[in-house]
Symmetry: C2
Subunit: 190 residues, 2 copies
């Protein structure tokens, strides 16, 4: 997705240790028009699939997931990391390490919004180590739902996430694939 | 907004102590089509205002804020409650009690995305005690930006938020105004 790559080159900052800051368009500020384009692009890559719901993880996954859900006309469920008082037992729970916070997080989804009838597309902002997405996929499996695929905004191939997701045997799409980040360049695949 | 009220009546659950669970359309699952309508409705109520950005607080404010930003064609900034490693000093910080988590939260916004040139519309999911929204308004003031108004999806008048926001001297709009919740009824104003 050329527009996205252009924006990452113009606004992204390499903070070192493989951390890309794109706070101006995704992780603190969201550009809704770009996000709507991202949602349509992810939806288009899975067109023809019988998707019934989008699953993402709070917080930064919500933007791209919501716009993908709008494009597909299906509800979006965001896994909670802190149990709100409106969430009652039992819930599906899986844990994943938090890349940007340095601790373990628990992802929780209520069975009210995920059932064995569902065909789920997982959407998230980053595919880095793949551990958050893998945890979401395990929640899909716990619920007995079908996993249609994974759509991400940005993939950092050097963190090995795609290989980590291989056992899911599902299609993984990323709109901007970063192969390398040096001190002064962000290098995309292809 | 009649469609929203209908959905709240059909899907909302009164959990007691003034807590309304609308996890099926806003706080755990999001209906993107309803949320797009909500965004257009909030945008319409502030049409003609020179809004440059939307400000909200993570997590549940992101959906309505993003769709309002899409309708208005302006960026959306979400105040962070946990400092991610991509967020550097200095930031604007204000604290507010968390209604649904029972603790204090700190709302943080980077000066990169909020300046004295901005005309800000605050958007959030609930107007309850008004304390989160008041904290966002204080961040707007810290930045020297202008506050155009406040748009909320659901207001619970019995928690007094509108009075708490009175000192902001700004316009407050809510799409579904709940005056009373009894054991078996949710009663809207008007």
């Amino acid at each position: 997705m050329e527009e996205l790559k252009k924006r990452i080159l113009a606004e992204g900052q390499n903070l070192g240790n493989g951390i890309l800051k794109i706070d101006s368009l995704l992780n603190h500020q969201i550009d809704p028009m770009l996000m709507a384009d991202i949602g349509r692009e992810i939806a288009g890559r899975f067109s023809g699939q019988p998707i019934t719901r989008i699953l993402t993880a709070e917080i930064s996954g919500i933007g791209p997931a919501l716009m993908t859900g709008l494009a597909l006309g299906v509800p979006v469920v965001y896994a909670r990391k802190h149990r709100p008082i409106t969430m009652k037992d039992p819930v599906y729970v899986e844990s994943a390490p938090s890349h940007t916070k340095g601790s373990e997080v628990f992802l929780m989804v209520s069975p009210e919004f995920l059932s064995s009838d569902d065909c789920i597309l997982i959407v998230d902002d980053f595919l880095a180590t793949g551990k958050t997405i893998h945890a979401l996929a395990r929640i899909v499996r716990q619920a007995g739902a079908a996993l249609v695929g994974v759509g991400c905004v940005v993939e950092k191939t050097f963190e090995g996430g795609r290989a980590f997701l291989a056992d899911l045997e599902t299609r993984v799409e990323a709109l901007a694939i970063i192969e390398e980040m040096t001190d002064d360049a962000i290098i995309f695949a292809g």
